[in-house]
Amino acid sequence: MTEALFVGMGTAALISSLLVILHRNPVTSALFLVVAFCSLAGIYLLLHAEFVGMVQIIVYAGAIMVLFLFVIMYLNLKSDVETGIQIALRRGIGWLVGGVIGAEALWLFAKEWGVGPIVPELPGLRDPNTMAIGKLLYTQYLFPFEITSLILLAAMVGVIVVGKGRAQRPVHPAKPGPPPPRVAPPAAGLPAAPDPEAS
């Protein structure tokens, strides 16, 4: 049963990952990536890594891919079929890099190839999965964990800075300051309007 599920989800993951790069329509590609993520989550579940499986769906399929789709839809509303020298160049580079990596993989496999069990033996876990991960994160891997959060925080701050722009513009640039008085200056009793350029 487990083996059949593993083979099924593995096949789904492989085919959908291939379709991600082979399909011409960017939105369809993104959707196949979602399928690949979901099959990967299924494989995690089979390995009794429930927490990782669910987080895979929440973070990758649920949040990151939605933003991907958002950007694709926002930028490019037609199915994108490229032609000419551009695609030939890109294809050539792709074949070259793919060939090198494939040869490396073949060489590695030829060097030490052994067929293990399809369903790996499970390490004896005393705690439930989520608790085990939490304990590891907050004891043994505390430093890398905090470093990762710091890097993410830096990225967030960077995005906000880039998004806000460098110029010291007022909050509402569309709204011009009060127009200069066309008639006589205000009567002596009223305070003068603050000069927008002064600040």
Binding site: L31, I57, A63, V66, L69, N129
Partner: protein
Amino acid sequence: MAALFANPDLQMGFWAFVKIFIILNGMLGVVSYLIYVERKVAGHMQARMGPNRVGPLGLLQPIADVGKLFFKEEFIPAEANKVIFHLAPMLAVVPALVTFSVIPFGPEPFIVTDINVGLLLFLAMSSLGVYSITLGGWSSNNKYALLGGLRSSAQMVSYELAMGLSTIGVILMANSLSLVEIVRAQTAIWQLGPIAFPGWYVFTQPLAFGIFMITALAETNRAPFDLPEAEAELVAGFHTEYSSMKFGLFFLGEFMNVISISCVAVTLFLGGWSGPGPESLGIVWFMLKLSALLFFFIWVRWTYPRLRYDQLMHLGWKVLLPLALANIVVTALFVYWRANG
């Protein structure tokens, strides 16, 4: 043959199938009458009668509506992406249905399955629900639909964060991600002087409950957060081009989401099936609490006006998210203090 029936795997599969069949059909019934109740309540709130022509008290109205939907013409725009256009309504219903598999409707026989990451499964399925609306809006090749889809993906992604964070307080208190365990942790009765009140997390986590209910309204695209289908500006939003039963599926998905999110709210904050009397009454208590929350959803819809888009984003990112984070810190300190004196 007898050996086959004694096979525990097969027995488990059979009972799971029976439970799934009952819950699926039960929920379809609840959805159709929830629509009836919504129209009836809306009518009375606006000093009208609501549906009252088909059958006694208009009780056969849902059946007539569904029958009408089935026989409507199905229209697909010529330039639509056909496959995704067909896929989107299905994606609206399936995640909502999957959530029901981990909800404990009552003690033992009323639970389909109890997995130790039940709450995460709910969050995962609610995050997959975004796809139906986004894809439905994009594939119809219609500007209004596309704008509705883009709006909703931004809205749902932002409110998902606050929703996930608001549940962490409950997880910290219950010390488990399994929904059954969370209900079990709420069955205790607390004595505060002469008054005895149930140990539901709505009393210990009122802020989290408030945030959860607000984000639940936003996640299900119900008013006052129904910007994805704001009819005054976007015709009908993401489902402008959908007709017949495909539109029906979007409708079904929205109400299924309302029910599943209310079920999760009952489980997390209102003590699930726990209540006075023997445990076998559990399902009755669950259904009563669920009905109260569903009424709340309808009540809110016909009471508050729709938010503006910048107000929506302001509320999600600058109010609910910091509040949820503060709630986590306070709860964590409290739990630590209780454990270590």
